[in-house]
């Protein structure tokens, strides 16, 4: 876009240039590299275009602000989802005869999740059986609200479980400690676990971590010093 093509304040624009059409994505940082370079070249020669980018950034900031004020859904949405998943898993499990289930459990345990996913004819059974193996692993404590800032507020620890720990044991552990898995696992098998919605006193926190470390299914546990 040349300066000649640049819109003057108040002048209606009938046919915007390609560069002008791309400005919102340039402002949002989602343009492909080549397109971004083209916009940057045009910006160097065209002060009006640069001013237009300022408008885009203003719109962008206020759009984010507007959306951020919309709040977050209640915990009911997560509860409904997990109840539906539980019901589907349970229904699928009931459709599997006992002996066959035992054989299939071993068989599927030897396959990767992606392999399982590809095996379309066994997909329903695989989901059912693996669902049983990790039954109740959705461990959000009752009435804990699901908040946007869930990853930021509260007291967190990083925990790695022993290889032999099964889903039921992890579930029990989380429930016993009123804890919730927020993220993970990382490559090192660490889970980010929230121990409480509020910041706990240092003594209380050390007491909890000491107790957690004593648990036979915990291989490693440490306090997360600062929120990300």
């Amino acid at each position: 876009m040349t300066q000649k093509d640049a819109p003057e304040p108040g002048r209606p624009i009938n046919e915007p240039s390609e560069i002008e059409l791309s400005l919102p994505w340039y402002g949002a940082g989602t343009l492909r590299r080549r397109d971004r370079q083209r916009v940057e070249e045009a910006l160097r020669d065209d002060p009006d275009l640069a001013r237009h980018v300022d408008l885009v950034r203003e719109e962008l900031a206020e759009t984010i602000h507007l959306n951020e004020t919309l709040g977050a859904p209640s915990a009911a949405a997560a509860d409904r989802l997990m109840a539906a998943i539980e019901a589907e898993t349970e229904a699928a499990r009931k459709r599997v005869p006992g002996a066959l289930a035992g054989w299939l459990t071993g068989f599927f345990a030897s396959l990767s999740p992606r392999t399982l996913a590809v095996a379309a004819s066994f997909a329903t059974l695989a989901i059912a059986l693996q669902g049983v193996m990790i039954a109740d692993i959705f461990t959000r404590p009752q009435n804990t609200p699901v908040l946007e800032n869930e990853h930021h507020h509260g007291t967190f620890a990083r925990i790695r479980f022993v290889r032999q720990a099964n889903a039921a044991e992890i579930t029990d552990f989380l429930q016993d400690n009123q804890a919730t898995v927020v993220d993970g696992p990382t490559g090192g098998g660490l889970y980010r676990v929230r121990l409480g919605m509020k910041a706990l006193a240092k003594e209380e926190l050390h007491r909890i971590i000491a107790r957690i470390r004593q648990d036979r299914i915990v291989e490693f546990a440490e306090v997360e010093e600062s929120a990300p």
């Binding site: 507007l66 977050a72 399982l116 993970g184």
Partner: protein
């Protein structure tokens, strides 16, 4: 020590294998943004919550079919859009959408005098809220959900050139609303 969380695609792979913990992580990561997207379409918090439960249930059921041609967040929003629009259509058919329509009109008809009392940022947000659903949606997708031209085209189901021109006219309309509200942004 910084934790490196698994990529969304890896979570989907685990969900395909029946991993509920992965489902929990994916939900925690995306549910607020999906909820806000749906809420902007439906203007109904309860309905928006129902839709996001349905969206993630679909993810649970269809994870093995995810082909990673688009980002997981784009896939989620595309599912959410389909469900929200289906709900709107049902409501319209059942004549239950009068309240939503009224609330949209109420926002759109915001008196000029009330706008004059607001600061520039507030006025701009009021004008953003007063845009048509079509224009609001594209502005949200580009600015808030940070979707590229290609991703918006995928979600909305329109050609990429239409995405660009729709965004342009949404912004132009926003400029006109701003002018009416007493903000002369110098464009259009």
């Amino acid at each position: 020590m910084a934790m490196q969380a698994p990529a969304d695609e890896a979570l989907i792979g685990r969900i395909a294998g029946g991993d509920r913990l992965a489902m929990q992580v994916l939900f925690a990561r995306h549910h607020v943004r999906v909820y806000r997207y749906v809420l902007r379409l439906l203007h109904d918090e309860m309905a928006a919550e129902d839709v996001i439960s349905d969206v993630f249930l679909d993810v649970w059921r269809q994870a093995s079919r995810f082909e990673a041609r688009s980002a997981v967040s784009t896939w989620l929003i595309a599912i959410a859009r389909f469900k929200a629009l289906s709900m709107l259509r049902r409501r319209r058919d059942e004549g239950l959408d009068d309240e939503t329509a009224a609330s949209i009109e109420e926002t759109a008809d915001d008196p000029e005098r009330a706008l004059a009392k607001l600061d520039k940022g507030e006025k701009l947000r009021k004008c953003l809220a007063a845009l048509s659903a079509e224009h609001r949606e594209i502005i949200d997708l580009v600015y808030y959900h940070e979707k590229s031209v290609e991703e918006v085209a995928d979600i909305v189901g329109i050609p990429e050139n239409t995405v660009k021109t729709r965004m342009f006219y949404a912004r132009k309309k926003l400029g006109e609303l701003c002018k009416m509200a007493g903000i002369d942004r110098g464009w259009p």
